[in-house]
Amino acid sequence: MNSDCIVIMGSNMAEAHPVGFQWVMEAKGRGARVIHIDPRFTRTSAVADTYVPIRAGSDIAFLGGVIRYVLDNDLDFREYVAAYTNASFLVSEDFADTEDLDGLFSGYDPRTGAYERDSWYYEGTEPPRDDDGSRAKTFSEPFQAGASGAGVAGAHLAERDPTLQHPRCVFQVLKRHFARYTPEMVERVCGTPQEQFLDVCRAWTTNSNRDRTTALVYSVGWTQHSVGAQYIRAGAILQLLLGNIGRPGGGVFALRGHASIQGSTDIPTLFNLLPGYLAMPNVAHTDLDAWMADQRTGGHKGYGYDVDAYMVSLLKEYFGDAATPENDFGFDWLPRIDGDHGTYRTVMDMIDGKVSGYFVLGQNPAVGSAHGRLQRLGMANLDWLVVRDLNEIETATFWRDSPEIETGEIVPERCRTEVFLMPAASHVEKEGTFTQTQRMLQWRTKAVEPSGDRRSELWFAYHLGRLVRERLAGSTRERDQPMLNLAWDYATEGGHDGTGEWVEPSADDVLRRINGYDLTTGDLLPDYLGLKADGSTSCGCWIYSGVYAEGVNQAARRKSHTEQGPYDAEWGWTWPMNRRVLYNRASADPEGRPWSERKKLVWWDADEGAWTGYDIPDFPRNTPPGHRPPEDATGPEALSGDDPFIMQPDGKAWLFAPHGLLDGPLPTHYEPHESPVRNPLYGQQGNPTRKVYGRPDNPSNPAPPEAGSEVFPYVLTAARLTEHHTAGGMSRQLPYLSELQPALFVEVSPELARERGLTHLGDAHVVTSRSAVQARVVVTDRMAPLRIDGRVVHQVWLPYHFGHTGLVSGDVVNDLFGVVEDSNVFIQESKVATCDVRPGPRPRGPALRALLDEVRAAAGITVETGTRIATAPGVAHTEEGS
């Protein structure tokens, strides 16, 4: 709303986030320019001022081009960059860039497909003791760095050049790294005409200065790539160079995909995280001190240093009185990671017979996850499967109606999996909080009692735990102690019928316990600053502490915007500490004065001796702007008065990431795993650290320089429609939504339709090495061909909502994608692949398998295809036994 320009990239915000999009329209009404950069002209483009076409999977080349434009023309916000980023830090002499190594950074090991990152450090700092890139790639370690920051020990010792002139200072490294991302190169890689690209550069830079700010919006169009984390890095670097972080109307907005998916990472359902982005211990962490030492490799500065208080308080919440200083607060009762336990690895382990049971709650992997066939074959090889959902979704019915029945790969009579379908209460039938994109918790009350046997997730988890604990009661086996020691004593509010065994646990009590208590007084904590490492506080999620401050459910507040200040501080509650703009110390200059009257947010009040403003300051309240900490200070006390990035070990925002990422300290354009073109920028074709799973059941389409890519000449991308919800479990069952988008269709440009003989509303099938999917053809001017590196490249798009149950049905689009992941966070590359499009219906049953055998043979696909992730040395990364 406060933005002067809004750049939306990797996101179809109007269609996938229509409610949040009202604020974009509000800003537009106030004069903001809206730019949409996307492979398709969507409903977002329709109301944008400027639509800019781009090839799916080439965003880093585009952003790198904008970064080069900024640096080349001295358009960066120099005072901000010099004071608040690591631009002035010197990088180790041993560091070698992609410029030097044809697309690789120094430290690459082709055998493991990972980097040894010692050479990426600041001059004068020590790399951590055992930086093992290949182990980090197994645990998705970068994802675990949230609460404690990425590790750089002794960052205060790093050498700096405040003039930004030293050839090895980050600023100059950045300049060299992006030197080849010229407008001509952007056009060659992205297909975006230079004039349109330069128009975006001009709009972005003229709207980023003391008086003006630009917001950057992305969604899963950025994350779901084999180099997705670096897409976001590229956006962040640009926003930092232009001074758009921590300021009103600036920011990088990660739009989350569902209601409370933000909540499900804050209090996670991820294998490698504990609540509040604390790292899940691994097998090397024999005790709490060992875990703590690993978290503090990031040195001693900032709020990340206080992880001991966050962890001990979490253990006190989990285990209550059973957690004592003598037993390490029950640290030994936490599970340990001993490898990749991500969702795709788990599914492959099901196929390989290593997993016997599976809980699926609020998810429909048979439709919604990449490589649907793999998902279904995995689930067909279990002992038991529990599905909790509103409807009988494909994940519960795969054993009798999946496409594999037709092909004979699953036989209902012989499918060994016992499926338990548990009806779930909907969001109006239970109470609790949603945490939305803006990190805001909003409490919902229950509108109606759940009908029939429907029950809340809370009820299910509570009683499952209760029953397991009853079965284990009295056991002295070590493996049973974690369950038996859980403080499983939540308040209850009477059963579904008001009494008896099947009581409903109190969501209000759960929220109080998430907020945390001072165990010496029994009072609810006001915020996370009060957390202690001595066991005298408990807290279920440190970043949520304060949501029940003063005994008030802060998430339930609903004060009208007409009755309060511009940041609506009394509507819901935003973590951390109800701050609406993160790192807002950066909205003031190093001396603590607002950069401009127009963009005033938080400032230093010398008379009060405190930070103040329209938002809650994201900085130690009484640390003055000129403060310099003593040498031996630790934690928040070690922050200087001009260190706005309080979670970083050096207090600065990282243009160059000396640690924390596995695929490079700077973003680099790599072609997607499957691409019709050779990388025009480097010899290295794709991300050299991407996670590949070379198995016969997970084939890849070839990409240059491998032969055979011409069999799949088109770029395939998939996304959502407003009218349906993700895998369709909540929309294909509803007549009012189904009638609005009643059939699976494939969007093609008129040019591609002519090339392939496709007729509007006729049938076509899209073919990859994994599957063929049938869809109605929609020929539309909204799709357009691009010229990539001298040749015309077509893109095709399908919505992925359809499956085989419900009022409207269709093939599963995710069957087209294989499994290949970003090495940092294990996100699958499901926003881009290659494909062919053919007119007419697809073959069915055994004929479908025959077609796939035929295309795989034509493309020369083997288990090694796509697994030579380093282009030059060419070591194949296939699985044992393949």
């Binding site: 229509p18 329709a46 001022d49 076409p53 009638e739 059939a743 509007h760 539309t780 001017d781 061909p785």
Partner: protein, 344 residues
């Protein structure tokens, strides 16, 4: 005066409501519509309007087709190879060929023509899969003005969206011709059908200058938007306006909405969006102004709206006058004949 056509300041009073609240309506600003169809869903949900067909129409993202007995809100999606003043050319510099719109229109039009009621049941019945070859029928169809003007290599493009609804006319053709009193003017100045009084005669269907009101197939009774009469009575805004995320659909007192629309129009004109215009705002138009009016970004025909709607009763005085003249002439002739005969 002006009870049959032209401006009318107090529609509710004119209909016999002695004490009544101010007239309310919708201002639909299509320039901020994002085509989410939340209005369609909210309307059906609140008013229990049945689902009406699971058919892919191929008309851009429009699978509703048109307003009808079972679609009281309809979002139109118009793809055009041209651009609005403030937008940059979308596909300039790309290796594009000619627009595909003639081809898609050619595929959709014959299917509509082949449908039993010429397409008027859009969204209520599955259309036949194929259809005869495209032929020029010389009537308005899927291709609209401006559709066919693209150059050989397409560069400009725009995608217009607009949520259509019953206009709640000042002079409502449906209401004027209803023989049973099923259609009535509410105290809010809106027009509502009472199904229990409707005998299904269908006069209202031909009386509506916008083709809005329609009869349900299973019982023949007329149905259309009530402007959520029940919600108005409880002090709530209509469901569609409540659900609209971008405030494209704005509900309020009509006088205030007209002022707001005038301001918005001026703002867009200042921004150079010269195509912007109001539709149904003018009390001097053929229906005395609409209770639900629109800000459009092109000619009304582009959105499937009639350019110059007028209520049939506007012609009633002249019809009466002509009928009177005819009757007088007939009488004169009869008298003349009688006189002539008398002389015989």
């Amino acid at each position: 005066m002006n009870r049959l056509y032209g401006p009318l300041d107090d529609v509710a009073g004119d209909a016999g409501h002695v004490e009544h609240p101010p007239r309310v309506g919708f201002f639909t600003d299509t320039s901020v519509c994002i085509g989410c169809k939340a209005c369609e869903v909210a309307c059906k949900e609140w008013n229990a309007v049945p689902e009406d067909g699971l058919d892919l129409l191929g008309m851009s993202f429009d699978n509703t087709g048109m307003l009808g007995a079972d679609s009281w809100r309809h979002v139109a999606f118009v793809e055009q190879p041209r651009r609005t003043a403030h937008q940059d050319p979308a596909f300039a510099g790309l290796p594009t060929g000619p627009s595909g719109i003639p081809e898609t229109a050619g595929a959709v039009e014959p299917r509509l023509e082949a449908a039993p009621r010429g397409g008027s049941e859009l969204g209520t019945n599955p259309l036949p899969p194929g259809g005869p070859e495209p032929q020029e029928l010389g009537m308005p169809g899927f291709s609209r003005p401006g559709d066919l003007t693209g150059p050989e290599s397409r560069t400009d493009f725009r995608w217009l969206m607009a949520s259509d609804v019953c206009k709640h006319c000042t002079h409502a053709g449906c209401l004027d011709v209803c023989p049973t009193g099923a259609l009535f003017r509410t105290e809010f100045g809106t027009v509502v059908v009472q199904q229990d009084l409707c005998n299904g005669c269908g006069y209202c269907v031909s009386g509506c200058p916008y083709g809005v009101i329609d009869r349900r197939q299973h019982d023949g009774r007329a149905n259309k938007c009530t402007l959520c009469y029940d919600r108005l009575g409880d002090g709530l805004e209509p469901a569609c306006a409540k659900a609209c995320p971008t405030d494209s659909i704005q509900f309020g007192e009509l006088d205030e909405l007209r002022e707001r629309a005038d301001r918005r129009l001026a703002q867009l004109h200042d921004l150079g969006v010269s195509e912007a215009r109001l539709y149904g705002r003018d009390p001097d138009d053929g229906v005395g102004g609409d209770g639900a009016f629109f800000l459009l970004l092109d000619e009304p025909e582009v959105y499937g709206l009639p350019p110059d709607p007028h209520v049939p009763t506007r012609d009633a005085p002249s019809m009466w006058k002509r009928a009177g003249q005819a009757a007088a002439a007939f009488l004169l002739a009869g008298a003349a004949a009688f006189l002539a005969g008398g002389r015989r």
